[in-house]
């Protein structure tokens, strides 16, 4: 069980002097700007939960994950994971967690994948038989087998991410912390990763905390979403409730073959207007996409159109503006 109580984290950003003498000066004289990255977050995650940890870039997701995984110490508040204090009990704690940072590799860059796995087995002191079984299982699920003899630097991003996930789970941890594991992946790779994560959680009861700013990850995988912004908790509950209240909004971008219609249906909000272009916001509950498109094409020929879901930043803005949905 993960328990986070009133977690706060301040970074002190040193104001640096440059060059050799500057470096010497830095040793004796240091000025700091304090930046509050996490500001009083509390939540509890039960074993076996799959939680989406969502927020705009810079919201404090990575910092929170670094505290939960024992890399950083909280400035204030408390964090316990299965009764352990992550930083204080670092060695014991890290035996039982798997971590994937999407931007960074856990693997040895110039060695074949299989050698990284062997090294990790020794780092985590996994008994040979367990290691073999676990490796075989993961390689099959993540389709990593054909990549085992390839040096990590020659893998595509999608291939590498599958290898990273297997690497993070070789020691069979009960908890998995993921920081943006789907960032930059193509549709197929994303789907492989998501299917795998869902199965790990369902079949092995692995607790997963998935930090992401991609709501489609959460929609697909997480019954529960924790939403943070500027270091503070904004929402903790099912994604659906948020969706029903705000997320139902869609954005429609239309290019016309001629002047854009001057008038619009009542329920549609105009975002942008060009001579032959419109960006509109609407709610499918009030007017369906099909009806809106038909209404527009009755008035002018449509050249091209796109429909977007609202990005996480807008949902956050909506919550500030209109308040949270009532509890279930």
């Amino acid at each position: 069980m993960i328990e986070v109580v009133a977690l706060r984290k301040d970074y002190r950003i040193a104001v640096h002097h440059r060059g050799f003498w500057g470096a010497l000066r830095n040793l004796v004289e240091t000025r700091y700007n304090v930046v509050r990255a996490v500001d009083g977050i509390s939540f509890t995650i039960e074993p076996g939960e799959f939680v989406g940890f969502v927020g705009p870039n810079g919201a404090g997701k990575s910092t929170t994950i670094k505290i939960l995984t024992g890399v950083l110490e909280p400035t204030d508040g408390s964090v316990t994971v299965n009764g352990l204090v992550p930083r204080r009990d670092r060695i014991e704690h890290t035996r039982d967690i798997g971590v994937v940072f999407g931007q960074r590799t856990q693997l040895w860059w110039d060695l074949p994948v299989t050698e990284s796995y062997d090294l990790l087995r020794h780092i985590y002191s996994v008994p040979e038989a367990e290691y073999r079984a676990q490796r075989e299982r993961l390689c099959e699920l993540l389709e990593v087998g054909p990549l085992l003899d390839t040096p990590v630097r020659k893998l595509s991003l999608g291939q590498r991410m599958r290898c990273e996930l297997a690497a993070a789970l070789l020691h069979a941890p009960t908890m998995l912390f993921l920081d943006e594991p789907t960032i930059g992946l193509d549709v197929v790779a994303k789907e492989t990763v998501r299917t795998f994560l869902a199965a790990e959680n369902r079949e092995r009861g692995t607790t997963v905390l998935l930090a992401t700013h991609d709501l489609s990850d959460v929609e697909r995988l997480c019954p529960r979403m924790i939403l943070i912004d500027r270091g503070a908790l904004v929402y903790d509950g099912p994604l659906e409730a948020i969706r029903r209240r705000f997320g139902a909004e869609r954005e429609l971008r239309v290019d016309f073959e001629g002047a854009a219609p001057a008038e619009l249906p009542d329920s549609v909000e105009e975002q942008e207007r060009g001579p032959e272009r419109l960006v509109l916001r609407f709610r499918p509950g009030e007017i369906s996409s099909a009806k809106l498109i038909a209404w527009l094409s009755d008035r002018q020929t449509i050249a091209d159109l796109e429909i977007h879901e609202p990005p996480i930043e807008r949902i956050v803005a909506e919550i500030y503006r209109r308040g949270l949905p009532p509890p279930e």
Binding site: R12, H16, A23, T69, G70, R90, Y124
Partner: protein, 270 residues
Amino acid sequence: MAAPLPDDLRLYVRLAGARIREQMNYRLSFAVHTVIDAFLIVSDLAPVYLLSRYFGALEGWTFAELALLYGMVGLSWGLVETTLRGFQKFGPFLVDGELDRVLLRPRGVLLQMATAQIEARKVGRILQAGLVLGIAFVFLDLGPASVAWVALGVAGGILFFAGILLLGAASQFWTMGQTAELQNMLTYGGSAALLYPVSIYSTWFRRVLTYGIPLAFVNYFPALAALGRTAEAGWPPWIPALSPFACGAVLALGMLAFRRGLRRYESTGS
């Protein structure tokens, strides 16, 4: 930061081996650097040889005796540079997040950081220093007691240079990787200064090297003892025996500083 257990030692060998295998992907670079390193011995020793030839001896030190000094410091620095190179490159590792990766694994930080980089070609320098030392032994016709003094000096040098590397690495926690020059000044500068007996330096510098940064304990005092000249140089006979303690103190300081730096990193972030 527990004492190295046999299991940790085995893991060290595995991790270091992995780094060496990684480098073997770049064979040409490896070969070129090894050749360059092989020439360094010539460029290091040639001026010493010329000086001692020209003056007959430096402050009473013959070329063979100077080679002994060179071999001692070269061997200890070479061993440390080869096995703990990760600390020498610690600044960049701190900045690019290598330390976070290390902290995510259930193993000692020092053990993992030491192997964050290993350069096999540095082994060439160890062999060269050993060769010079061997030749000095033959020319000076040293007995077993003298060899023991030399070994003590080399052991002290290992502690000393390891301590200096850790101190330099620790300073990066406060300056975020900007003090690599300071670290290099102490290690490379130190090993260069020790090519000559510290008695040739002016009084203030000699004092710094004896009492401040105790470089004199790395090769000068043990070499005096090995050559049976401690008294002749005006030092009490027990001074060379302090070598492991003086050098051990530097290592202890280095470990302490690194631990404090790590605490600071964990509480303030990068």
